[in-house]
Symmetry: C2
């Protein structure tokens, strides 16, 4: 391999003769691991032209570097990094540091995250991954996805892939969402009432930015999706945490000064409760009476394998008070980063202007790929396959939970991909999760979902979206065994050792 000539720059701040600066430049590249053993240097002639120095200066520098065993000369083939050259360090050397800047002062707005729900990136290597929200290799339809991506890479779609769309979206995707996806949720929308987003995260963030400021009041469910609470905390709005019950968010508990409510009526996150029709009506009536808006995160509505899905809250919205958030993260995969916002045009216009300022638009190729995947019917087939698999896993899960007498605090009446559990009093699920992890079992502690994690340490979530049905019973047995051992010993214990 030849080293690209553009990699070479004479440091204008360096001192010494031209020749010594060239030697230093090459040696430093080797020491920093940028030029590796056996790689060929540019010829002395090319290097001289590139640096604007005489050729003899370069030749003399190369000769010195050969003498120092940084380089070897192979006659007419040129100069190469020597096999005896110093070993590069594991990481390249730093060229700039935090230096003289006081970063505590320089950073004008802090955005460091709160409690994180980060999963181990090697979750797939665990034997019992009761992990939520990652794609299951065994269920995903990679073949058709590849075909659609390939089609979207074709010259016919060159403009769709490569163009700067400014604040626009792929019209083909918008058309499909308007005509096919939304009507299934009971929603009819014009194309100017839809905005494609970088997943539900981006849709929720845009909504919060447009609708809130430090004087506005937002209400969220407690427990809720921690990233949403983080978004609202960053917005500096007045935040009200409303405890949910087995029917989800209780409208009566909303303060009268509420401006925006964030809710998950289809499957409350994380308790999986579905809000019944009478409560949805009551919520919309309160919205009219108190003049507030509702942001509905309709995640996972596709996974309704136990009953027909209930229509979205938005479908009951007569007065344009509901902003609807949809996502392809759960049904396709989260690394796609694709979702959408649906709402009245004045709202969508503002969200679009903000999105354009922040990032312009989601990549064209991804939008077009999804549009093909949807319109060729692969999406529906995938959702059916996933629903069937989840249904089977859920049955195994329910049986295993019952057998082990674990306390179910919530499980979706329509389906979903997880069960919300409560360990016996005195057990800290965070510690439980750590213990189980050492035993190959991944569960999610529930405390980070709560506004006040203290007092809610016994909750945890078991998802069945990424674990095969054959592993579920064994995995739940291990969870139950760890709980029993914890109760007996008053502290977490490696489950297998206590068996």
């Amino acid at each position: 391999m030849s080293i690209n000539i553009e990699t070479f720059f004479l440091d204008p701040n360096a001192e010494g003769t031209l020749q010594s600066r060239i030697q230093q430049m090459v040696a430093q590249g080797i020491l920093e691991g940028r030029f590796r053993r056996g790689e060929r240097l540019p010829s002395s002639r090319k290097m001289a032209v590139h640096l604007g120095v005489s050729r003899i200066t370069v030749t003399l520098a190369y000769t010195e570097l050969v003498a120092d065993d940084y380089l070897v000369s192979r006659g007419r083939s040129g100069y190469f990094v020597s096999d005896n050259a110093p070993e590069p360090p594991a990481f390249p050397a730093r060229r700039f540091g935090a230096g003289t800047v006081d970063w505590n002062r320089a950073i004008a707005q802090r955005h460091s995250p709160g409690l994180s729900l980060k999963k181990p990136s090697d979750w797939a290597s665990y034997r019992y991954p009761f992990i939520y929200g990652q794609a299951d290799k065994t269920l995903f339809d990679s073949a058709n996805w590849r075909l659609c991506a390939l089609q979207a890479l074709g010259m016919r779609d060159f403009a769709a892939m490569t163009s700067d769309l400014y604040d626009g979206d792929d019209p083909q995707l918008i058309e499909f969402i308007a005509r096919q996806t939304l009507p299934r949720r009971g929603i009819l929308a014009n194309t100017d009432e839809i905005l494609v987003t970088m997943g539900a995260q981006n849709a929720l963030w845009l909504s919060a930015q447009v609708l809130l400021n430090s004087r506005r009041h937002a209400a969220i469910e407690d427990p809720c999706y921690p990233a949403l609470r983080n978004i609202l905390t960053q917005s500096r709005c007045q935040l009200h945490n409303i405890s949910v019950d087995s029917d989800g968010l209780p409208p009566d508990a909303l303060p009268h000064e509420t401006d925006v409510v964030f809710t998950t009526p289809s499957h409350q996150c994380p308790t999986t409760a579905t809000m019944p029709l009478h409560r949805r009506r009551a919520l919309l009536e309160r919205a009219d009476a108190d003049d507030f808006l509702i942001v509905e995160d309709d995640y996972e509505f596709e996974m309704s394998f136990l009953k027909s899905p209930s229509p979205s809250l938005k479908s009951l919205d007569q007065n344009g008070r509901v902003i609807y958030v949809g996502s392809f993260s759960k049904s396709l995969f989260p690394g796609l980063r694709l979702g959408y916002l649906v709402g009245p045009e004045p709202f969508i216009r503002e969200a679009r202007a903000l999105r354009a300022s922040v990032l312009r638009h989601p990549p064209g190729h991804i939008q077009r790929t999804v549009s093909y995947y949807l319109s060729l019917g692969h999406y529906d087939a995938l959702v059916r396959r996933m629903s069937k698999a989840y249904h089977e896993r859920r049955k195994v899960m329910d049986a295993a939970l019952e057998k082990n007498q674990l306390t179910v605090a919530g499980e979706g009446a329509y389906g979903g991909s997880s069960v919300w559990l409560r360990a016996p009093d005195g057990i800290d699920a965070t510690q439980l999760a750590e213990t189980l992890r050492a035993d190959g079992v991944l569960i999610e502690a529930g405390a980070p979902f709560f506004a006040n994690p203290q007092g809610h340490s016994a909750y945890f979530r078991l998802a069945y979206s990424s674990i095969s049905s054959g592993r579920i019973a064994e995995g739940v047995d291990l969870v139950a065994r760890a709980i029993r051992s914890y109760q007996k010993n008053g502290r977490p214990h490696i489950a297998s050792a206590s068996a």
Copy 2:
């Protein structure tokens, strides 16, 4: 085609008998254009189960719809939308409107865009597209791009494509940028000093959000990239517009209270000036003396076909004061939405937390595709091919400008992809652009680049990144002719008619 059963919902707010509500549901779908002629309805048995009503109710409703010629019955094949069914409207009916919400009140933060630089989306159909920043089909290496995308779609990269990376990036892409891309700009960075962004737009936005608030002072070049001015205006910082000269931004003109400077030293946007070394040093000295930071947008550094590119400002940065913005939009294509930020770790940590809150991470598949494209050497080959073509076009452009005696206000000494021009006094380039557009010539008026567009109406930009060299001379002739005609008549005139 069968109509998916999930599309059907009984409106819980509707009145009347079950049968009439079913009829209404079907008829409305047809009238709204969701169910189209020849499409098959679910069987009465399936529909009854889905809606939770008796089968006879569905059958009676279907029979009525047949009588009304919404549907036809084809015996055992089932019910289909009739070929005589009413024509659907061009757009689906609205189901929700702006309703009772006062959107002027409800929108807490406005983000509507300022002057836009939107290009016509059908620019490729113009005969003389002197348009900036869109990909050229004739130069782009679609075959190898497809191969890399296909490789990144493989099962070996399933996790890289599908995973939720939270606040993370593709380690393979970061590694390549650190080891190969940045050293060519004289920059050595650790992996925790690099953040992948949704293009340069997103990198600039993140920088502004982290470093500015309403009390901080930002300085920008005048003229400059209008989207950047928009980002800074939205940030509500104290904004200082600094007029550039033929060497770019003059450090002496910066006010002492400056906190952050946004600059384009390699190619000033839009004048294409390159900042000379002595001025770069002076800028860094001012940064130390007045304790400010510099955000360097190093766009288009790849297109240096006239001279070796000068190293980046960041490469001279001893004290960690420069934040570097790179982008693949110009060298690959803007629809990719991929760029990167390089800076001291405390800054990158904050920008990463903010990016995670706004959108989590750029899509995994795109990051991996670029990483293959770079590491297999296709990127270098593409840049060489583009540089060669741009060089040839530039020569034709220079000759045509000279022949027509047009006033060049700036053209990159290192290369680039555009020339900055000034029409004679009294000519409004916005009107000139409109006139020329009717004649198949696309040019960009320069006024939107200025803080105060008034007084700068004579400037315009001619890019040669998307026009073949064979069209350039003719196109420039048309521009010159339109200018002469404008001067003669005191108003814009269709060039061809005045020829």
